[in-house]
Amino acid sequence: MSANLFNYLLKLGDDRVVMGQRMAEWCGVGPILEEDVALTNLCLDFIGQGVSLLGKAGEIEGLGRNEDSLAFFRDDMEYKNTLLVEQPNGDFAQTIAKLFFFSTFDIIFLNELTKSKDEYLTAFAIKSLKEAKYHFRHSSNWFLRLGDGTEESNTRLQNAIDNLWLFTDELFDMDEADLELVNLGIAVDLNIVKAQWLEKMNEFFTLSKVKPTNPDCFMIKGGRKGIHTEHLGKMLAEMQILPRTYPDAQW
């Protein structure tokens, strides 16, 4: 049971650490100062959530690992994030599409998680839901403006959707350990989340004048099992080099 919960927390935490690191890559190179600040604010939200989840995971594992050791001293094959979040930022449209897919998932998921029987997860969900609502507001507003904007912004968003769509279904994957936690009332049944997520997507695709060219395409998965695309290793190399070179470095 505690091994199941440890793995569950890792999956949730790794999604957020990787989302946060990707948003951090916009720092100083955002398309305009205000959006630069907005994206790095989101980064800090995701990193904060990741710190909490990985810290709790380390505590439950009981082997003396904390959030830093879990974030900086695991290799890509030990990371359990979905493939979607590790995809490169690409242009602004791709960043927004990824953020929109993930934050829409997040508001539905966290809302379900507030009903968890695990006290920590309930508290985490209530706190993070406030942040996720803003992430959704910001990303959905941009999603609409890019889709229903100029010919170029529409084309870029359309390309972004087609680049990312095949990674989205993994957000709703559950393995046997997850299902045990669902039956105990601790984890969220992602089938419920998926139905609501698809509904939201269709609503916004209509409004934004974009949609996946091939919505029923083959869905690529593997991140939850540690089988990642080539992009995660490069991202982690940059993220982890400092603590691995100077393990006792302090701010």
Binding site: I32, L33, E34, E35, V37, A38, N41, Y134, R137, H138, N141, R145
Partner: protein, 100 residues
């Protein structure tokens, strides 16, 4: 300047209320393509480190301001004319100062 206009979004002035009932105070400005994103940008720039109660954004070009040239005619308080100040007037005897 002409080039700037094409690459920058419109400017919005940001007014912030830190608690209910307090006045909205001018805190600065942000660039944004429209009102909703101006609110979001104001939130991201100004509301991150302090709890706020309410934020207004106003298109900067909607503000009508005085010019430096206006200063003399607008703002000379004419305090050389003593009768413009209430203290110039003597209170007649018999008028009670106690207003409570």
């Amino acid at each position: 300047m002409e080039n700037n206009k094409e690459t920058q979004w419109n400017l919005w002035e940001v007014f912030v209320q830190t608690k209910t009932g307090a006045p909205h105070e001018h805190w600065g400005s942000v660039h944004a393509p429209d009102a909703e994103l101006a609110l979001q940008n104001a939130r991201d720039v100004y509301a991150r480190r302090q709890k706020l109660w309410s934020v207004w954004v106003v298109p900067s070009n909607a503000i009508i301001a005085t010019k430096l040239d206006d200063n003399e005619p607008f703002f000379d308080p004419q305090d050389d004319k003593v009768y413009r100040h209430p203290l110039f007037y003597k209170i007649p005897k018999g008028v009670s100062l106690d207003v409570s």
